[in-house]
């Protein structure tokens, strides 16, 4: 089979999975009883509550993105470029709020602070702790791209303080821009925290228009500004932050020696970890308050947890496979329009999950596609469309590092594209595929909004089960269920960390 034929098939499949349902929904919103009309879009200009929520979303996203990026860059430099004690452990701890469902954190913080936590600043605080790891990780990633000789030369003339300000920070400017925009988009489309803490935002509107009024045309129209914001942000990012990643080994990086600041900064980071990670988790343990609650939660969670793990494993496998294939197409620029594929994948990631869920219902809910709509396959398709960007981008970071001369040598030896892919690229990408699998697993496992709309009867997942229990369920039981959910989410992360540690030790 020809390379372009196979990968053309992959692109066609991804088009059906992701873009086609959205295009059909957009098309449907323009027609009413077979007539072209823009009446659904009037809602964007006439509904004052909707316009107010749009303003709220902008303000929220801007505040969260500014706070997360400012603090995240500082912490990223501290954790990724200094001789701070237990930096890796701290990094792992700070990632925890990102991988657990955000509404669990909102539930925990609201329980601690009470009524006054509800509203704008409560949402800002929770989302700040959730998205802070993004800014930290992106900064750490870009720090590993800096040529150590540049900093070395600057250090001959100046102190670290000036080198950081005049050399390091300008060199990681793409990281700053990328982290800011990514957090902005995610905060703009966030649904569960704002909903739980009763702050009216724009993304809840599309959910309400569909769920409460069954008006999918208005739901599509209500989501249009989000699509516009996402498209604008990615367009900006393309110009500001498009760089090829070439990482240097961590051992060659110029490390900042903290000297007398080592202990105070260690205590500072410890305090942040205690505040942002340990406190909400402790609140859940405290709230659970008895072994009976745990046992009851364990019994109730057994079936939904089993399904969650199974769906997440299958979702992660699909995400790894298609993430690799998409990254290969984009990296090798197999088609002229590869940028469309790249853009579509990123757009799907940034779109509110509720909107994508609605599009999938409208597209697959037909008698002849019941084998998808009426089974968990609909969830797997949802996970694939929504999170493909994550595994694609993770795989791309590895593909750009594989030397071209390896491929050239293989070609000269008579290897076909298939043999090169199977025997050279795939084995070299093994580790990154594992990382992608774990990321795909975590995000599939924690997904809630889309699953709530799509799950077939009798197939609810644990996040959905917790969400439905939140209406009049016992607080101790909900807290225990949240702890089970967190444990299930963190276990693969822990395995990955142990695997990496063991591998480094062997090396």
């Amino acid at each position: 089979m020809k390379e372009r034929t196979l990968f053309g098939g992959v692109v066609a499949f991804l088009f059906v999975v992701g873009a086609l349902p959205l295009l059909m929904m957009l098309f449907g919103s323009l027609y009413d009883n077979g007539r072209f009309t823009l009446t659904a879009y009037k809602v964007l200009f006439t509904n004052t509550a909707l316009l107010e929520s749009l303003k709220n979303s902008f303000l929220l996203a801007l505040t969260v993105a500014t706070a997360s990026t400012s603090v995240g860059i500082g912490l990223g430099i501290l954790l990724g470029k200094s001789d701070l004690r237990f930096a890796k452990f701290f990094t792992l701890m700070l990632v925890i709020p990102l991988v657990i469902p955000p509404y669990i954190l909102a539930f925990s913080w609201a329980d601690l602070f009470g009524e006054w936590f509800f509203g704008f600043w409560g949402v800002v605080f929770v989302l700040f702790t959730v998205y802070l790891p993004i800014a930290i990780l992106v900064t750490m990633l870009y720090l590993r791209q800096i040529d150590p000789h540049l900093e070395e030369a600057a250090l001959q003339m100046s102190s670290w303080k000036k080198v950081l300000w005049l050399v390091t920070l300008p060199l990681i400017r793409p990281a700053i821009v990328f982290a800011f925009l990514l957090v902005f988009i995610l905060a703009f489309g966030e649904f569960s925290v704002a909903n739980f803490l009763r702050y009216p935002v724009f993304s809840t509107q599309s959910f309400v228009y569909f769920s409460a009024f069954y008006d999918f045309r208005a739901a599509t129209a209500a989501a249009l500004p989000i699509v516009a914001v996402v498209a604008m942000v990615f367009w900006m990012q393309r110009f500001l932050a498009e760089t090829k990643m070439h990482f240097i080994p961590a051992s060659l990086m110029q490390k900042i020696r903290l000297l007398k600041w080592r202990l105070p900064l260690f205590l500072f980071v410890l305090l942040i970890v205690m505040l942002f990670v340990i406190t909400p988790l402790s609140m859940l343990v405290f709230k659970t308050n008895s072994m009976e609650s745990f046992l009851e939660a364990g019994e109730k969670a057994l079936d939904p947890l089993g399904r969650s793990l199974l769906f997440a494993m299958l979702g992660a496998t699909l995400l790894s496979v298609f993430g690799f294939l998409s990254a290969y197409i984009i990296h090798k620029r197999l088609f002229r329009w590869y940028r469309w594929l790249d853009g579509s994948i990123l757009l799907l990631f940034a779109l509110p999950a509720s909107l994508f869920g609605i599009a999938l219902i409208l597209f697959w809910n037909r008698p002849y596609t019941n084998f998808i709509y009426a089974t968990p396959l609909i969830l797997l398709i949802g996970y694939l469309g929504k999170y493909l960007a994550l595994t694609t981008k993770i795989t791309e970071t590895k593909l750009v590092q594989i030397p071209q001369n390896l491929m050239d040598a293989a070609a000269l030896s008579g290897a076909s594209w298939y043999h090169t892919l199977w025997y050279i690229i795939l084995p070299l990408s093994k580790e990154v595929l594992l990382v992608g699998w774990v990321v795909g697993f975590i995000f599939s496992l924690r997904e809630n909004t889309m699953t709530m709309l799509l799950y077939p009867p009798g197939s609810d997942t644990l996040p959905v089960y917790i969400f439905t229990q939140m209406a009049n369920g016992k607080a101790s039981l909900i807290a225990a269920l949240c702890l089970i959910m967190i444990t299930a989410t963190l276990l693969p992360l822990l395995f990955l960390w142990l695997y990496n540690t063991a591998r480094r030790r062997d090396a």
């Binding site: 309400v208 809910n365 009426a374 089974t375 968990p376 439905t468 016992k474």
Partner: protein, 333 residues
């Protein structure tokens, strides 16, 4: 690698295959999962019929599964719908999504709670009560207290665009007529009444002393009393000439084209039984049985001791759709 692919394929087939060997019934549920799930589990245990349930969430204003039923009209997946109020049932009936079924267990339920052509049957009801803070000197005894000067800026009501508050207002429209209700709503607004996101939030506000009273569902009110909050319950409009309490029963119905009609009938019979009503009365939701003589806790009144608002739920459903634009504009004013 081949083994991994094989394993994944087997897992995917297992995950997506339906269990055809066991009799099953698919039910969509708008009643809170915390109350409905134990009933459905008991049904599974007692009959051996597997229940595949799909539950609603507060976030979709408890209309998510109803809208899913509408979306699935030409491709029905559900056998039974357990609605937490009859207006949703009426909406589905008017859209041609239901088929009639009269359960033998409906005997003894007042006729007002059974659809005339047996498309749906009511059971275990909530009633709309006033939850009043303990410190309030003159306790309100009518929903007209929302317009009284004594309660200016001191009352709260849930968003009338969603849930039982919408249904209650639609019921008032059918009872009082458009002019009187619109005047009432304008006066309510003029009197500085706060709008909360839900009945639960209204109940919390009163429990915390932020407002003097709120019109809420009986389950919200009873749960605050059980939590020993400083509140008391008032059954409003009980005097002669007053409309009475608005009753919101659960409603159960069969879906047209249900894949498992026999199992669906068994589940409907089970939900309409006196035993189920007793279980729901003693659950935290404290729902009032519609069969007379069913055992119930002392902190709620039996249905025959309450003056009930006499409404036609079919008319209420029609009115509800009609008044949506008015309510939206009223809210945004």
């Amino acid at each position: 690698m081949k083994r991994v692919i094989l394993l994944c394929t087997v897992l995917m087939i297992t995950a997506c295959s339906s269990q055809k060997e066991q009799q099953s019934v698919t039910v969509y549920v708008s009643e809170d999962q915390v109350f409905s799930e134990p009933i459905l589990k008991d049904f599974e245990k007692e009959t051996g019929i597997k229940v595949n349930a799909l539950y609603d969430t507060e976030e979709s204003k408890s209309t998510g599964v109803m809208n899913r039923l509408i979306a699935e009209k030409n491709n029905p997946r559900a056998d039974v719908y357990w609605a937490n109020e009859p207006v949703r049932a009426e909406v589905l009936r008017q859209k041609g999504i239901l088929i009639p079924y009269l359960s033998p267990n409906a005997k003894g339920i007042p006729e007002v709670f059974i659809q005339k052509a047996h498309y749906w049957t009511g059971f275990s009801a909530r009633v709309r009560l006033l939850l009043v803070g303990e410190g309030v000197k003159h306790k309100p005894d009518s929903i007209l207290a929302y317009t009284a000067k004594a309660y200016k800026d001191r009352a709260v009501i849930a968003n009338p665009l969603f849930g039982t508050t919408t249904t209650h207002i639609a019921a008032l429209f059918t009872l009082w007529g458009d002019t009187k209700v619109k005047t009432f709503l304008e006066a309510l607004k003029q009197n500085g009444t706060a709008i909360s996101t839900s009945n639960g939030e209204s109940a919390d506000f009163v429990a915390k002393g932020r407002y003097a009273f709120a019109l809420v569902d009986s389950d919200d009110a009873v749960s605050r009393v059980h939590q020993k909050k400083p509140v008391s319950i008032v059954y409003p409009d009980q005097k002669k000439g007053e409309p009475g309490v608005f009753v919101v029963p659960n409603a159960v119905m069969m879906i047209k084209g249900a894949p498992n009609p026999k199992a669906a009938q068994k589940l409907i019979d089970y939900l309409l039984s006196r035993e189920t009503e007793q279980k729901l009365a003693f659950a935290d939701c404290a729902q009032i049985p519609l069969h007379s003589g069913v055992k119930m806790p002392q902190d709620i009144k039996p249905i025959d001791q309450i003056k009930v608002m006499q409404v036609d739920y079919e008319q209420v459903a029609q009115k509800l759709v009609e008044i949506q634009p008015y309510l939206k504009s009223w809210l945004e004013q």
